[in-house]
Every structure is written in C-alpha cells, then in structure tokens.
C-alpha cells in the first residue's frame, strides 16, 4: 500500500477503514475456528 497521506486524518481514515473491514472476516473466522475446535466436546 504505497498510498501517500497528506494529513493524519487521511492516514487514519485509510488504516481504520482497512482494519474495520478486516474485523468482519476475523470475527467470523475465529467463531468458526472455535466451533471446529470445540466440536469434539459437543459430539
């Protein structure tokens, strides 16, 4: 990501946006991972 940021606001707008987008698959992924991991207990 070789974007040029002219203000701190630009920088945070970019990084926070990317991070918030990553949070969605991360939350879904970690939930699914836990269900796979703990599946043996439920069986």
């Amino acid at each position: 990501m070789d974007n040029v940021f002219y203000t701190l606001h630009d920088f945070f707008l970019h990084t926070e946006s990317v991070t918030y987008l990553l949070v969605i698959p991360a939350l879904l992924g970690i939930t699914l991972f836990w269900r796979i991991l703990a599946g043996k207990d439920e069986e």
Partner: protein
C-alpha cells in the same frame, strides 16, 4: 502413587550428571571471568547494543516460558477447572524456578548487580516501566515461592505451616494473575520508548498486549511440554491421578493454546493494518516476519487444532515444542534481530560464545534443581497424608 516412588540408590554416573557436570564446571569458570573482568570480558555488548541474549533469552524468554504457573493456577482455582489440578504443582515449580533463574541471570547482565534492590529501597523511579517490572517480578517471585512452599513443607512434615499456605491458595492465585498481567505486558512496554530503533514490523503500540498474549501461549505450551518430559523421565514418580489426568491436560491445554494462537495471529494482522506496514512485507525483514508468524504462530495453531480434533497426543506434544520455539524466536526478534535494524552489519550484535555458555549454564542449573525437587518432593504425586485434601 507408583510403587517405586521411594528414592533408590543409583549410580551417580549417568549421562545427565556427566553432561550437566561439565556444563556447571565451565559455567563456574565463565562466572569467575564475568565477575572478575566485568561485562566486557565475556560479552559482545556495546553502547549500541546494551541488551544481548541475557535479556533476550534469559529474561524475556524466561519470564514468558515461566507463565505456566499463573495460567494453570488461574484455570484450576479461579475458573474451577479441577480436572487439571495435577498440572498445578509442576507448573508452579517450573514458574518459580524460571523466575528465580531470571533474577540469577540479571546478576550477570546488570553492570553492578549489588544495586538490584535499589528500585525497591533507595531510588524508586516510579515513572519508569522498568520500575514496575522490577517490583512485579520481585513480588511475583515471592508469591511463587509461597505457592510452591506447600510441597517442601509436606516433604519436611511441617503440617501446620503447610495448612496455612494451602489456605492462602486463592489469594496467591489472584495476586499471581494480577502481577503477571502487569509485568508480562510491561516487558513489551519497555520497547515502546524505542520506535526509531525497532523495525516497524515488530514495533507496535500494541506491544504490551502482544507480550501478554504470547506469555499465555508460552505458559500453555510449556505445561504440555513439561508434562510430556515429566512423563518420559519421571513416570515412576507419578501417581494414578497424575497419569489419568495427563491426557486431559494435553487435550485441554492444546485446545486453549490453539485458540489463543489464532487470536494472536488475528491481532497481529490488525497491528499491521493499523500501522499501515504492509509494504514492509516485501523486504527481507518482511520475509523473516512471515516466517515467524506463519511458521511459528499460524502453523502451531492449526497443528494444535488438528491434534485436538484427532486426539493425537503426539501431534499436540510436538506442536508444543514448535510453539515454545516460536515464543523464543519472537523475543529474539523483538530484542535482537529487529532492534537496531538500521545499523550497519559491523555494528550489529552477535553474542559471544561465553554469553551463550552462561545462558546454557543457567538453564542447566534449573534442570538440576528441577530434577532434585521432583525426585524428592510431592510434585508429580500427592503426599499420602494429604490425599483428597483439596
């Protein structure tokens, strides 16, 4: 308890005793060189690199790997997971020895070790993170000593003192969790003052969080590894309860380690994202960063999960080795590899063989003391007079 728990008169000449004896003799000589000739006589430390492997390995890694004590006692006494009770004493012993050796190693690393108590009694320096680390380590070492003391008190037959210590278990566990949370994270905070010296891939405002989370991974993995090694070398000391709970501990701790590793991997990606450091991944340091995080974080997480799902105890045990190596690699990367990364190769630090020798000497002392305690005190079995006392 196994039938042959009583100490037997065996020959002193064993491979362990011979190798550890040689290491101790060399270590004593290196100790003489260190304290007669100063740091310069045995180390490659310099003004550029004041922290070498005695900090990167003995202290940062030692403290992380000793986290099994607070992780296990919190799981058993605070979260009520009584099925892991047999793991508590070995974990507390490992933690106590780990912290004791950290303090011993500090005597080698600090230029004037007789001033180690200064932060406590002479000059507090309360604005320093290092002050908090010093106080927490001193207090936690005391907590671990009291927690561990129930075993030698049972061994010595001091019932009243032992009962007082056992009554303090919950208070000590809570203190242990608080102190560990504080200083495990503060060891990461130490690097927050050096944003220009630490490579951006490893520098992050979340360093304290990373250090704390990795200490939990280290603690969980060390309990699995230590339980495996104890079973291999001290199986004759284990009673039926320990033998029965061993597999539960491996599975339960493997599952927890897998989940925490996955969480750690995710927050590391968030760290990359919030600092916008993606472009560094294309560099040589980026490759090394990927080796650390894919090979020693993501891979062990998946292998632990696979081991738990397939109930493959062998896989979980080998994965614990990989995870422990990952923690060592992480601390080395933060403290040594990624630190002062902008310096020319001639100014970079590589440890003197004598520094490595003293680190091996200190680890060997830990193994000797561990073996001495485990073969004599009720660590891997319950003392006959206190069975069902908890």
């Amino acid at each position: 308890m196994s039938k042959n728990v009583a100490t037997t008169d065996k020959s002193w000449i064993t491979p362990f005793n011979i190798i550890s004896g040689i290491i101790v003799v060399i270590g004593v000589y290196l100790t003489y060189l260190r304290f007669s000739g100063g740091l310069g006589a045995v180390t490659n430390l310099s003004d550029y690199n004041p922290w070498g492997i005695w900090i990167g390995f003995d202290l940062l890694t030692g403290v992380a790997l000793a986290a099994g004590g607070f992780v296990t006692s919190a799981a058993v006494y605070i979260f009520g997971m009584k099925r892991y009770h047999s793991a508590v004493r070995p974990a507390i012993l490992t933690g106590f020895l780990g912290y004791a050796l950290v303090v011993l190693a500090l005597h080698y690393d600090v230029g004037r070790p007789w001033r180690l108590p200064y932060p406590l009694i002479i000059q507090q320096g309360t604005t320093s993170v290092l002050f908090e680390v010093a106080v927490c380590v001193a207090l936690y070492l005391t907590v671990l000593f009291v927690e561990f003391s129930s075993a030698p008190l049972e061994w010595l037959g001091l019932k009243r003192a032992r009962n007082i210590v056992v009554k303090l278990t919950m208070v000590l566990t809570i203190l242990g969790v608080i102190l560990s949370t504080m200083h495990q994270s503060s060891l990461g905070s130490l690097f927050l003052i050096a944003p220009s010296k630490l490579h951006p891939l490893w520098y992050s405002p979340f360093l304290p969080v990373y250090f704390f989370v990795t200490s939990i991974i280290a603690g969980l993995s060390m309990v699995i590894l230590e339980s495996t090694l104890s079973y291999r070398y001290f199986k004759h000391k284990m009673d039926d309860v320990h033998l029965k709970e061993k597999n539960d501990i491996t599975l339960g701790f493997g599952k927890a380690a897998s989940f925490v590793l996955a969480g750690y991997f995710i927050i590391k990606i968030f760290g990359l994202s919030s600092s916008n450091n993606w472009h560094y991944l294309k560099t040589e340091y980026g490759t090394w960063y990927l080796v650390e995080h894919l090979g020693f974080v993501a891979l062990p997480s998946l292998l632990y999960a696979l081991g738990v799902r397939l109930k493959s105890f062998g896989l979980i045990k080998w994965t614990s080795v990989l995870a422990v190596l990952g923690i060592i690699l992480n601390r080395f990367n933060v403290c040594l590899v990624a630190f002062n990364w902008h310096l020319s190769p001639s100014d970079r630090y590589f440890p003197n063989w004598m520094e490595i020798g003293i680190s091996i000497f200190i680890v060997t002392i830990g193994l000797i003391v561990f073996k001495f305690i485990v073969t004599r005190m009720p660590i891997l079995y319950e003392h006959p007079e206190y069975k069902d006392a908890h």
